[in-house]
Symmetry: C2
Subunit: 324 residues, 2 copies
């Protein structure tokens, strides 16, 4: 657990585990992009560079609870591990269905490889195409959360992803149900946050129920050119992961290769009002990552470096501390 | 360097470095199949499971000298690392051409992935289809060596490979050139091993030249059911790598999944009269590999376990010790 969570509250059930923090070329034992996101009982894999199945295994993480995988784009360091993960899960008899979200083209390169194995997958596999242009929109939803695409700008079409918890219902005070003799409909209204009118009396929702923590959120932004307007789309996101392939010293190289610097990633987090920023996708040119942390923290202090095998918690925040 | 080489001679320029010794499922830090074979200045990659590029990097081995890659079959643990290796070499600006030998179907699954990168490879890439039935035949040749396919039997078409040095020319004794006033043609004949007739005198090749070591050879046999007839095709091979996914205890499972046991691999090496046997492709069911070594050595004492990052030398053998 990273120390920044201590600034907020205790360990939570909303966390990101980094499986790969390296850039396009493997170096310094930094593997290509992959992160395991856990929100309550949901587990999502975001990107799946080569070796992701080994990283999951080495860190003691099972892929079997993953029901959705989100691939940002079709550069190899973001998806070459997918076919291996799929076929290994099949060899192990997975039966839960799996959905893979990605920009156009992934299905066409994955299915021929699975066909060549001459063995049916043990589970149902579905591909969903994600738009890489236009406004961010909801592409997946459950009762507890929603996932949104986030068009980015790189050498090929790419979509980041935003994961948002939904506001949980207020917690009804049981004694008030009896006191006012509330109906099921009235209870539902209170849980939704509505005041009640009983007879001629207005009874405030605050008297009848307790607030629940505000919903948490995580955004995954990789790979991308620095896009200042992104801060608007990310406003209020709790934890932002933003690629930082280079430091400012190589800002021109970042521009040419359509990547970002650590300072640029930090500017996004600052302008979005994020609670914390996670940096990753570090170029193999850097053995020491301290310069990334230093230049980013000068812009946005609550910046952390993605380290493989580490789990980064997004804490529940009490309603009244939300604006602090 | 493995100790078995000490039984022969000093370090040589014919060696196999194991990059992955695991079976289909990653476990106990054993990676999927890949070996780097060096014969003089030639470097060949045999199989290329997921993560092979990382293994090469971690063991300080450059892929740039590799001009030929040999893939045995289209199960993922033997080739899912190929596309990553190709695209990384391209990102690094490789310009030497590369040829990939494999059973039918590889090109059709690799090229779409490279196309999706929307960036031309920096080098020329050629695919050659290798037969998986019929007799072993020469599929690649240089002045110094030849490579032969070796049809095996598994759940999908598979070819092993045999690498054979050619017999080097005898070493001419310079003083004899002057003594007999030999022509270029005569020297060439002596180097080929022929006696000379000068005037009416027959001068034996032994007097004119020194012998060179006999050619060395290596066979890679994976994945395959135990094929007793294979010993005939492998007769006299110096080093045999043969898969041993299971131990005898699970011989029935080996049969069903069309794999071999350690004892079966050892029987092949014994019947072929090999100098040494390397075992690999160990199932993830086994944490401790000692039982593989023990049961194989009971059949063929010069057996060794493939260990990742270790280099196994095939020593030059003096002519007169060849039959020992």
């Amino acid at each position: 657990m990273k120390s920044w969570t201590n600034e907020f509250m205790a360990e939570t059930d909303f966390s990101v585990t980094v499986l790969g923090c390296g850039g396009a070329l493997y170096a310094h034992h930094r593997h290509p992009s992959a992160q395991l996101l856990q929100i309550e009982h949901h587990k999502f894999l975001i990107d799946c560079g080569e070796g992701t199945q080994f990283q999951l295994h080495d860190f003691g993480l099972s892929p079997f609870a993953i029901r959705e995988i989100f691939i940002t784009h079709l550069h190899g360091d973001h998806y070459f591990g997918l076919v291996g993960l799929l076929s290994s899960m099949s060899l192990q008899g997975r039966n839960k269905p799996l959905t893979v979200f990605s920009p156009k083209g992934l299905k066409a390169v994955i299915l021929p490889q699975l066909d060549a194995l001459q063995r049916d997958l043990s589970f149902s596999l579905r591909f969903v195409e994600v738009p890489t242009e236009g406004a961010s929109r909801c592409i997946f939803e459950t009762d507890e959360l929603s996932v949104w695409n986030l068009p980015l700008k790189h050498r090929i079409p790419v979509s980041g992803y935003i994961f948002r918890e939904k506001q949980r219902e207020r917690k009804m005070l049981k004694e008030k149900i009896q006191e006012y003799g509330l109906s099921i409909e009235q209870i539902k209204a209170v849980k939704r946050g509505e005041d009640l009118i009983i007879g001629e009396e207005k009874i405030g929702v605050e008297e009848l129920s307790l607030p629940t923590p505000p919903p948490r959120s995580f955004a995954y932004c990789s790979d991308t050119l620095y896009l200042p307007h992104l801060a608007k789309a990310l406003e209020g996101i709790h934890l932002i992961y933003h690629e930082s392939t280079f430091t400012t010293e190589r800002e021109d190289k970042a521009l040419r290769s359509m990547h970002s610097t650590a300072a640029q990633a930090a500017a996004i987090a600052r302008d979005a009002g994020a609670q914390a920023l996670l940096l990753g996708h570090f170029s193999g040119r850097y053995a020491d990552l301290t310069p990334f942390l230093e230049e980013a923290r000068a812009v946005f202090p609550r910046t952390y470096l993605a380290e493989e095998g580490k789990r980064y918690e997004v804490p529940k925040v009490r309603q009244n501390t939300m604006d602090s």
